[in-house]
Symmetry: C2
Subunit: 362 residues, 2 copies
């Protein structure tokens, strides 16, 4: 039986719905009310386009529909590749009433969103995320952008979509490793402020990893709702939104240190959460039992619980200092005072950080 | 006697002051209240930096001040050159509380503004425009961006500065041609909706071209006020703001057709306004006498009153069709129903446009 949920992200005049379920791709009634103008540029990549483009197109009606197919991978999330989207828009004479639609994972979504934010100083944006990670992460928050050789996601803008369509059917073809990577973000929402959801995940992790559609839809909706609650209260990341960086400061250091594309973002976040849990344990905030629950759930989700051994303590510290969560030279970390009780910490003993990094070198 | 005027641009929580006068550069009390954080990146170009950087720096106090010096010219307003700003910010480990300061003309302002809009999804921005054009145009409206090989200003964002400092002393070194180019925008404000200002300009054009500081300050303030009144009512260019494009649709076609950097923007706008006046005359909206007043003031300001002869009618039409003012494939033009009475026109006889373009081919 087809499942369809809808979650409204409340951002005043920029509010938008997220449709979640199976069989959603290509349904005109979900797409057409949100298309501005008569021109739609679908941006996808070489992996996703052959799988889902034909299923999507009927939903776009009789607009002028053009396509840009990007190479697949985080290493292509650059200004140079972004320029291909601008070029296609200009070659097809798209005007400022046009719509950009992202069909793909986080990389496609981030790049398409930034192209939409910056083409003619801002045009309409629709997201059709096709990975678990992008369904639970990119769907909410309006963050768009590209990487720079000196840092991840350093160039970008806040730009909200007009609608998000998360079709769980697209997860059928998702590689196992990417399913795990998406699950890292799902687990993150439980860890931040939803202990009940964390317990639900512990109960259902096997079914989720077997891609049970009903369980996936529930996990996606709950993740988006948890994220939306944080984002709606704090759209510009002045305060509480930083909680969403749980596992990310460590994780970005791993991604940058290993070179983009070696570790999946979610894998790095998984290891990053394990590191945050370890540091929280060392500060006496998290019990050994809860630390073990974190590691066990990560493991059942097929995620790494430790950083790669190639990264030394000093290299880690260097990498973390250019992370964009650094405020005026002072490192902020998101740590755990319990499962479902994350906190933003700026004043921590530097020893604790180094000891934590050292613990994983063993 | 030093002159100092201040104009408040009213944009709600993003309101900011424009300081106008001589001797303003390097005055800490005008700059420091508007610097966020402790890191300032001054972006300038090879022409302006040697002239005014040393005068500016004392105003920045004891922040971490770094510089990026770009090559001078519209042809460098590209994604590639923009990337140098991002690289400098990352190399110096600037965080998201930093401030970008543009010291230079419109190109420096547009690029620095877009870098500020997009670095870590948005940081503080201060503008110190050093050309007449940028003092009257870029100071108000929040438009930032770069060019694309297929179109001018096609990539960008709206990003408001925290303060603008328009020091008329910097106009001492401005080449004659650029003074004229700036005067084109000044004249534009009179033409759009300020007939009294247009008359004032007819009276004072000689003094202005001799760079009388008091007259320049008055012209800058009045231009900024006229623009701010339009922009404040319509920050996102849904309606009235399009009036500011008077002369620009024709002008952009000239700039693009000739290749960026051949004609100055203001020169192209000057010719564009003469073309708009000619078309308005042909539609029976503008008297021959008023058309002559437009041409005479443009001439006294040292501006061209006609497009370059190399551009044919068809080439013009092609170039205008990719202009970003094209809404859903229909060309919008700003024309004159009198001096100080500009209107946005979408339904005009195509013949009138072609006849106007043809008239300048003779």
């Amino acid at each position: 039986m087809a499942e369809q949920r809808v979650l409204e992200v409340d951002l005043g005049e920029r509010s938008y719905p997220i449709f979640i379920g199976d069989g959603l791709l290509g349904r005109p009634e979900l797409l057409q009310p949100y298309i501005g103008g008569r021109q739609v540029m679908v941006v996808s990549n070489e992996t996703v386009a052959p799988l889902y483009m034909q299923r999507l197109l009927p939903g776009l009606g009789d607009c002028q529909v053009e396509q840009v197919i990007l190479p697949d991978g985080e290493q292509f999330k650059t200004l140079e590749v972004l320029d291909r989207i601008y070029t296609a828009l200009l070659q097809h004479r798209f005007d400022r009433s046009c719509t950009l639609l992202a069909l793909g994972g986080g990389v496609v979504g981030d790049m398409t969103g930034f192209a939409a934010a910056s083409y003619q100083r801002g045009v309409n944006f629709i997201q059709v995320p096709t990975t678990l990670l992008s369904q639970v992460d990119s769907s909410v928050g309006g963050k768009t952008g590209v990487n720079h050789p000196l840092g991840k996601n350093m160039i970008g803008a806040f730009h909200q979509p007009r609608v998000v369509i998360a079709d769980t059917d697209t997860l059928d073809t998702l590689p196992e490793r990417e399913l795990s990577a998406g699950m890292a973000e799902v687990i993150k929402y439980g860890l931040i402020n939803d202990a009940e959801f964390f317990s639900w995940l512990e109960t259902h992790i096997e079914g989720l990893m077997q891609r049970d559609k009903a369980l996936l839809a529930e996990a996606i909706e709950r993740s988006c709702a948890d994220k939306a609650a944080i984002v709606a209260a704090d759209e510009k990341e002045a305060g509480q939104r930083a909680l969403l960086n749980l596992g990310h400061t460590f994780g970005h250091a791993i991604e940058t240190g290993m070179g983009y594309g070696q570790w999946l973002h979610g894998e790095a976040v998984g290891a990053g959460m394990a590191m945050a849990a370890e540091m929280s344990l060392r500060l006496g905030w998290l019990s050994e039992q809860d630390r073990r629950r974190v590691d066990e759930l990560l493991e059942k989700a097929g995620l790494p619980c430790r950083p790669p051994e190639d990264l030394g303590v000093q290299q880690f510290l260097d990498l973390m200092a250019v992370d964009k969560k650094v405020l005026a030279g002072r490192l902020r970390l998101v740590l755990l005072q319990g499962i479902g009780a994350a906190v933003i910490v700026q004043d921590f003993p530097p020893d604790a950080l180094e000891a934590t990094l050292g613990a994983f070198q063993a």
